[in-house]
């Protein structure tokens, strides 16, 4: 049983660390794009408010990016420490993809991040904008590689299996990277990142709108623009995301039917299948209890036809079924949140048309409550796809139990506890700093950058620090 315990602990540790990690890259992807748009608008229109907003969100970006780097560093070594046998067998395929991610994305981001955060007065606005765009591009490239790797684990191809060692030997890199689920997963994740950040920005905007109303003041232009941009994103991207999720579902049905069966809590393969709104899957007795079902909807959603045949978990041997009691719920929470986001977006469009976008309290409250919804949905989506792949690490080919390192359970338990403690301290501090930042209004009319002005300590050490009074970003310049 010692082996089983250390397997479970290793899985728990991986889930914990990757779950914490993924939030920050997703945040960076969305936020970097938002920052590039803001800076671009500032350069194009020359309006101060865009620069104010850019600086405001740059505060957040430096924290979020830093936390992404340190939590990502853990991931690049955790494959070896906890999943040595997986690394040995799959390293020849996934290692080079990860290597390309570092070379084409991480270095690019890190190389230009310094200029983006600290370099406005050193390089001038145009080159600075270029740096912002490069950082944003880097986040997108990084996402592409990591999703190619993950998708390969879901829908592997382009390899041959080495006799004797069980190693995966790459023979067609194009097929490996552009594996069947990659394009769908990439689009779904990119939209998720944009949507998550849009909802967060909308939530922060809503908070300031509500506060201004309570104080009997007019909201500032920066707050209104921030809120308006976020609501446009919700209105446009959320419906597209639902479509993207639907196509991803069709793709999963085709390549990973066992995962679909677990997500749906269906036991028998059938046509005219219902869609369960609720139920409690019981893996032992092969039944889903307390079902609330919509007739025919299951077939309709998954096959786009009432008579379409939907897989059931009994199609697969017991030892190849994913734990339905996890993915059934994670999937439904994700979908529910997606629907709510679209509803928020539609409501905002209607109010905009009626001219009440910035005055409707219900919208603001809803936007505030929905601020973390994107990130929660994103995590639920990852839980669905990763737990749904179980009991395999490489779908159908390499079992999770055959992937783990020969490390004693005690060592894994000890480091797991340490991870929980360290992450709690670090991320709790980080989140409290972020929240404190969100509660401040964007500074109005910060001094425009001046490249001829000497770069000095205060501006350099803390251009984005809370310790500088709002109207005096470059005190020595006065």
């Amino acid at each position: 049983m010692a082996g089983l315990d250390s397997l479970f602990l290793a899985r728990l540790q991986f889930a914990f660390t990757v779950g914490f990690h993924i939030v920050f890259p997703a945040f960076s992807i969305g936020l970097a794009a938002f920052l590039a748009v803001l800076e671009g608008l500032w350069l194009k229109t020359g309006r101060q408010v865009y620069l104010d907003l850019f600086r405001y969100w740059l505060h957040t970006f430096s924290i979020v990016f830093g936390m992404g780097v340190v939590s990502g560093l853990v991931m690049s070594y955790e494959f070896g420490t906890n999943w040595a046998r997986f690394s040995q067998k799959v390293g020849p395929i996934l290692g080079p993809l990860l290597g390309y991610e570092v070379m084409t994305a991480f270095f690019l981001e890190a190389g230009f991040l310094g200029i983006m955060l600290f370099g406005m007065n050193r390089v001038g606005p145009k080159l600075h904008f270029f740096a912002t765009c490069v950082v944003s591009l880097g986040t997108l490239i990084s996402m592409s590689w990591i999703l190619a790797s993950n998708s390969w684990m879901q829908t592997p191809q382009g390899y041959t299996m080495e006799a004797g060692t069980g190693r995966f030997i790459p023979h067609d890199w194009w097929a490996i990277i552009f594996n069947p689920s990659f394009p769908f997963r990439l689009v779904h994740m990119a939209l998720a990142a944009f949507l998550s950040v849009a909802l967060l920005v909308g939530g922060v905007g809503a908070w300031h709108l509500l506060r201004a109303r309570r104080a009997g003041q007019q909201p500032t232009e920066a707050v209104r623009i921030m809120f308006s941009m976020a609501m446009w994103m919700a209105a446009i991207v959320a419906p597209i995301q639902i479509l993207a999720g639907d196509t991803q579902g069709l793709n999963t049905l085709k390549y990973q039917p066992a995962k679909i069966a677990a997500m749906e809590g269906d036991w028998e393969s059938e046509s005219y299948a219902p869609e369960l709104l609720f139920g409690i899957p019981d893996m032992q007795n092969e039944v889903t209890r307390y079902r609330i079902a919509i007739p025919y909807a299951g077939s309709l959603i998954l096959t786009h036809s009432l008579s379409g045949k939907v897989p059931g978990m009994k199609d697969f041997p017991r030892d190849q079924r994913a734990p339905s009691y996890v993915v059934f719920f994670s999937f439904r929470i994700m979908v529910l949140l997606g629907m709510l986001m679209a509803a928020l977006g539609f409501y905002s469009v209607w109010l905009r048309w009626r001219g009440r976008l910035w005055s409707d309290v219900l919208l603001q409250r809803a936007a505030l409550i929905m601020a973390p919804a994107g990130f929660i949905a994103l995590l639920c989506g990852w839980v669905t796809t990763e737990v749904g792949r179980q009991p395999f690490t490489v779908y159908g080919l390499l079992r999770t139990a055959d992937s783990v390192s020969p490390v004693p359970g005690g060592a894994v338990a000890g480091t797991l506890v340490s991870f929980v403690i360290v992450y709690f301290i670090v991320f709790a501090s980080g989140i409290s700093i972020l929240l404190r930042g969100f509660m401040k209004e964007p500074h109005v009319n910060e001094a425009a950058p001046d490249r001829h002005q000497p770069q000095r300590a205060a501006a350099m050490a803390a251009p984005i620090s809370d310790t500088i009074p709002p109207s005096r970003p470059n005190r020595e310049g006065e």
Partner: protein, 343 residues
């Protein structure tokens, strides 16, 4: 093995590239870890802020070399990756925790509202830097000391690293990083702070020379093969000039530290010591990647993997070095407060 085939040459090319990447990491993250350790020697908050300013725009890039090392090992030498990391499970994870704490301390320390919390994160920055440096030395020492491998899998105990040689290497590396940090600050700061750092660079140089001496004598005693490496023809051709070069650098270092005019030379001398130690080490363990049993060929991924990543590396690494150099160039010159602080 066919010495003309790809299965022979690709691992050699990658071993050289990987060694280069590790050296770049050691140098770049070495000085910013060392800078963190020097927080202990510099309690003044204004000075600490200046120290952090010298690396704030570039530290993410420095740490990226470590991620690259992990990824390259994973893709190119997966058997080594899957052996070294379980063997060094605890030191690696402790190092990662330390790097997390110090990494976020960069961002957090200036944003805390109370004096107490600021001091707390400053302490985190120092402790994290120190532990990360020590653990890197321990990892290196354990690797050089040898890891027990059977059938391409680690078979030793989880506390094998807790031995005199690895622990000594931990102290030596921490000392070396601190020297890199001190000389970096001699280069990038002015007035009081620079004077203090010159003093520290002198003390640390003496320590570093001692450590180089001890490790050089201790290493050949670890394995008979290491001893041969130091005496066999033609390796002796590479080895013999090393002590001479170390002494030459020492003379240059101490003159520069006393001279007060040259700002960059101490840092370059420290780099020189690292380069010599690092190459000496490489000559020692070659062609093993996990001494004493696993060669670079044993550890290799199939040629298709190595070739695929090599194409990218040959194009991208020069590009990466170019824009990294540009980033350093943008933030060149000494940092100073000009009588201005941001309280």
């Amino acid at each position: 093995m066919d010495p003309t085939g790809a299965t022979y040459w690709l691992p050699i090319v990658w071993a050289v590239l990987a060694a280069m990447a590790i050296f770049i990491y050691v140098v770049l993250d070495g000085f910013d870890l060392g800078l963190g350790i020097l927080f202990l020697a510099e309690p003044d908050r204004t000075h600490r802020n200046l120290m952090v300013q010298t690396v704030a725009p570039v530290w993410d890039g420095n740490e990226t070399w470590m991620i690259f090392g992990g990824a390259a090992l994973y893709g190119v030498f997966p058997n080594a990756y899957a052996t070294i990391l379980p063997a060094l499970y605890l030191p690696v994870l402790v190092m990662l925790f330390a790097l997390i704490i110090r990494g976020v301390a960069f961002e957090f320390r200036s944003r805390m509202h109370t004096e107490r919390n600021r001091d707390l994160w400053d302490t985190g920055f120092f402790v994290g830097s120190l532990i990360a440096a020590i653990m890197q030395g321990v990892i290196l020492g354990t690797l050089v000391g040898g890891i027990r491998v059977e059938n391409n899998a680690f078979v030793g105990g989880s506390l094998d690293w807790l031995a005199p040689f690895p622990l000594f290497c931990g102290v030596a590396v921490a000392c070396g990083y601190t020297l890199l940090g001190a000389t970096w600050l001699v280069w990038r700061t002015e007035s009081d702070l620079q004077t203090t750092m010159r003093k520290w660079a002198g003390i640390l140089s003496v320590l570093m020379l001692l450590m180089i001496g001890v490790v050089s004598l201790w290493t050949p005693a670890l394995h008979a093969t290491y001893m041969q490496h130091w005496t066999d023809w033609p390796r002796i051709l590479f080895v013999a000039p090393v002590p001479v070069a170390v002494v030459a650098l020492a003379i240059t270092m101490f003159r520069a530290l006393r001279g007060r005019t040259s700002r960059r030379i101490p840092f370059l001398c420290a780099l020189g010591w690292f380069f010599l130690s690092f190459t000496g080490l490489g000559i020692n363990i070659w062609p093993y990647i996990v001494p004493p049993g696993m060669t670079i060929w044993d550890a290799s991924a199939p040629p298709t993997s190595q070739a695929f990543l090599l194409v990218g590396a040959l194009v991208l690494l020069p590009l990466i070095l170019t824009y990294t150099a540009y980033a350093y160039h943008v933030f060149r010159g000494p940092v100073s407060v000009h009588g201005e602080t941001y309280h």
